[in-house]
C-alpha cells in the first residue's frame, strides 16, 4: 500500500516537473527580444523572389543567382541562392523604406570553409547600391583593386528608390594563396570614394 502511494506521488512529481519545465521553456524563450515573427518567417518562405544578377559557374562551382525579395511584411531582402526556387538562401533583409540601412550600398559576403583564409573554398559577394554609386571596387589583401560589374534592374526598386545589383565570385586560387577581400569600396561618377565596408579578411 505504501509502495503504491509512493509510486503515485513520484508520478505526480514527474508530471508537475514536466509542466513546470514547459512553462519555464516558454519564459526562457520569451527572454529573447527581437525574434523574427511568424509572419516574417512565412513571408520569407512564400513571397516571390526576382533574379537581378547572376554569379556565373566557375572552377567547377555551379552558377548562382542574386535575388531580391520584397516581402509582405515590409522588408526588402537580398539573397544569394542556387536558383530562384531554392529554399536555401544566404543573405539578409532591411526595411523596404531603407534597403541600404542608411548607407550608399550594402553587401553580403558568403563563403564556404574558413575561418582561416586559406581554407575558404567558395566566396561570393552580392550587393545593392544606390544610383549615386557609379562603380564598386574590391580591395584585396595584397593591395590590388578589382572592379565589380553592376546591373541596374527595374525589379530592384522599393519605396526608397531604385538600385543597382551586383554579384561576384572570387577565384578559388585567391584564397589558396592567402589572398582575400579586405574591403568593398563604392565610388561616385567622379571616382570619389563614397562608402567603404570592410569584410574581415586581412584584419
Amino acid at each position: 500500500m505504501l509502495k503504491k502511494s509512493n509510486t503515485r506521488r513520484w508520478l505526480a512529481l514527474i508530471v508537475a516537473l514536466a509542466v513546470a519545465g514547459i512553462f519555464a521553456g516558454g519564459v526562457v524563450g520569451g527572454l529573447f527580444d527581437g525574434l523574427p515573427s511568424e509572419d516574417f518567417e512565412a513571408s520569407l518562405r512564400d513571397d516571390a523572389v526576382v533574379r537581378v544578377a547572376d554569379i556565373p559557374a566557375q572552377e567547377g562551382l555551379p552558377a548562382r543567382s542574386v535575388l531580391v525579395q520584397p516581402t509582405s511584411t515590409g522588408f526588402l531582402c537580398l539573397w544569394d541562392a542556387a536558383t530562384s526556387a531554392s529554399e536555401s538562401k544566404q543573405g539578409g533583409c532591411n526595411s523596404a523604406a531603407d534597403p541600404l540601412g542608411g548607407r550608399k550600398f550594402t553587401i553580403s559576403l558568403a563563403y564556404e570553409g574558413g575561418p582561416a583564409t586559406r581554407n575558404v573554398s567558395d566566396a561570393r559577394l552580392i550587393g545593392l547600391a544606390s544610383l549615386e554609386v557609379a562603380s564598386i571596387r574590391v580591395l584585396m589583401t595584397d593591395g590590388s583593386l578589382r572592379s565589380i560589374p553592376m546591373r541596374r534592374d527595374v525589379a530592384v526598386a522599393s519605396e526608397a528608390g531604385s538600385f543597382r545589383a551586383f554579384g561576384y565570385r572570387f577565384p578559388r586560387s585567391d584564397f589558396k594563396r592567402g589572398l582575400g577581400p579586405t574591403a568593398v569600396i563604392g565610388l561616385n561618377a567622379r571616382g570619389t570614394e563614397v562608402e567603404r565596408l570592410t569584410t574581415g579578411f586581412g584584419g
Partner: protein, 117 residues
Amino acid sequence: MPMRRLICAIAIFVVTMFASNAWAGSVPYYSSKWWTPGMGGSSAFSSSWWQSGFAKAGGFDTTVTFIDNTGYNWHATVRGWATWQHTHWLSSDVKKAHCRSNVSFNGGISSTCVASN
C-alpha cells in the same frame, strides 16, 4: 536515495525546459543589447540545425555561420549589415550555429541569434 531523486527531478525539469524551446523550430541561443567586436555565441551541437539567423536591432556588421564538430571548420558563412541575416547549411553533419558581431554596437534593444531545426 533522496539525492538521486533530486538529481532526477532536476534533469526532468531541465530537459523539458530545453525541449519545449526546441519544439518551436526556431531556437534563440544568444542575445545582447550591446556588442563588441568578436562577441557572440553558439547553439548546442546537433545534426538537425539547418538555418542560422541573426535578428538585429540595427544594421551593424555581423557574421552567421555553422561550425562542424570534427575540424571546427566554418560552413555557409554569411557576413553582412542587414537587420535580418541568415544562412542555410543543409547537411546531416553534427554542427552548431554560431553568430558574432564584428563591430561595437548598442541598439538599446536586444539583437538575437536564432538556430532553426
